[in-house]
Amino acid sequence: MTLPRWSLIAALSLLTLVAAIASLLFGAVDLSVARLVAAATGDGDKVASIILFDLRLPRTVLALAVGAMLGLAGAALQGYLRNPLAEPSVLGTSNAAALGGVGAIYFGLADIHPIVLPLLATGGALVSLALLVALAGRAESPLTLILAGIAVGTLAVAGTSLALNLSPNPFAAMEIMTWLLGSLENRSFDHVWIALPCVAIGSAMLLWNGRALDALTLGEDAAQALGTDLKRTRLRLLLGTAIGVGGAVAVAGAIGFVGLIVPHLIRPLTDRSPSAILLPSAIGGAALLTLADLGVRIIPSTIELKLGVVTAFLGVPVFLIHLMRERRLW
């Protein structure tokens, strides 16, 4: 079912708006809509205003930004690698960002200031980018990029495992594990100011690649013969993913599957060209992660569920549906 592009974008935007409003309205503390509206307009009580502006608003903004970045990066990578199973972690950037965060916890730097962890995580993503460019920056085949991504990602995962292995006590290991599961709990505007510029720069670079990704539908030779500069396309893809996803993982931890499932959900609604799913995947990712984060808060449980756990569970039915569709085809 192909929807006209602008109706798809309008429908997804509406969904995202509803999700964002719901994310502001519901949470651990039950606040009436009237109190929140009063707080939003500036004449509410102090508690409502703190909950709205210092807790729920940054959390909502981060869910939107991180979700959009993961959805967009997934769509761009699937287009570039011409593989519907690609996702942002394919380049190893998210693992490297996670390692940066783990390092901050392991060496106790995260306790100095809340901002140290996301800064080190962003640093991890940038180091992985440098490694990726060194390993695969010049070659033109997607295979070399995947191999370089696996090498960088495996190295980062090994480093994370090492940190867990060498943890002085179970509590330290637990803290690392908890962060790795991914969450938007207790985030402030400090985190927003780290994530937003990264997401903005990363998204712009990936969206700029749209036409080049369309050309790659015909293979690399045909894409070049259609005027595509493959080296620049790849560089924008690497920079955009590393900066954007690095910034997203830095504030939210490693949240999987959003980048994988959102393009899958969006693709059947478009003309299936890689460029057509970029922007809708960003908006859809924002809606999905905001709704998942809302679910985390309102699903009753004694310990708050981690966002990465919920998105992982969401991924399963999407792939089961795909599997069933494939079986019917064959």
Binding site: W208, A212, A215, T217, G219, A225, L226, D271, R272
Partner: protein, 258 residues
């Protein structure tokens, strides 16, 4: 008007010299076939003309060095139908043909009325208007060949290079594709096709370029190039070449006895 001039062009892939010291030229309104055995360097030569492989020597498009041209400008000068019918996503025929307009667009520009008109013209010329809403990956080989040809026509470039456009097509569809190439040349385009079918090459092309081991062995009118001696030397076959009709016909008798 367009001209394509190759001046001592060589291509080395890995350690192997695949194309060696090729100098020749192509002009508008002609259909040239590049023929030769497997591994002779035909496709690599075609890719060198499009600056898709690093080459020594120079390829000049209307007097300008192709390697120094911005990619988009070169793309507007020469359209290309690559080997195989590669298509990674299930696009509709209309969307696929529309990819031919990419050299005329910038990353954020909108498709203009002129682009839409060019897409319509290309689909009409390749006779795929009735397929426009179909998913290109679900078409038959013959239909897909026409659609990919339309994609190249949508570029509206003065030159066209097609790499083995007849591969895996039945005789009827082979003739359809050759008719389209012929029509483009008749319309003033510079057309080059890498071909394996020597009789079709002889029947449709103004000029043949016979390549072996990366070098030009012979070039000229089909009847001059396709002699039994050359076919024996280059392809290792015994063949009967009949030149009495409107075009030379080649009957392969068997492997040449050494």
């Amino acid at each position: 008007m367009v001209s394509l001039v190759l001046d001592h062009v060589g291509v080395t892939l890995g350690r192997r010299a695949v194309v060696r010291d090729v100098s020749t030229e192509f002009g508008p309104g002609t259909l040239t076939a590049i023929v030769g055995p497997n591994g002779a360097g035909k496709s690599t030569l075609a890719r060198a003309m499009l600056a898709l492989v690093p080459a020594t020597g120079t390829v000049r498009v209307d007097g300008v060095d192709a390697a120094a041209m911005p990619r988009a400008e070169l793309a507007r000068g020469i359209a290309y139908v690559p080997q195989g019918q590669l298509l990674h996503w299930p696009l509709t025929v209309e969307r696929l043909v529309g990819l031919g307009r990419l050299p005329h667009l910038t990353p954020m520009s909108r498709i203009s009325a002129a682009d839409t008109a060019a897409i319509e013209r290309a689909m009409a010329r390749a006779d795929v208007l009735d397929l426009r809403g179909r998913i290109a990956t679900e078409l038959s080989g013959g239909e897909r060949a026409r659609v990919l040809f339309a994609r190249a026509l949508a570029v509206e470039a003065p030159a066209l290079i097609a790499d083995e456009p007849l591969a895996s097509l039945d005789p009827g569809h082979q003739i359809d594709v050759m008719d389209m190439l012929r029509a483009e040349a008749a319309g003033g385009a510079l057309v080059i096709a890498v071909l394996h079918d020597l009789t079709l090459a002889a029947r449709y092309c103004d000029r043949l370029l016979l390549i072996d081991a990366g070098r030009i062995v012979a070039e000229g009118a089909p009847a001059e190039v396709l002699t039994a001696e050359r076919l024996r030397a280059v392809y290792g076959i015994d063949a009967r070449v009949e030149t009495g009709g409107a075009w030379p016909t080649i009957t392969v008798l068997g492997r040449a006895s050494v």
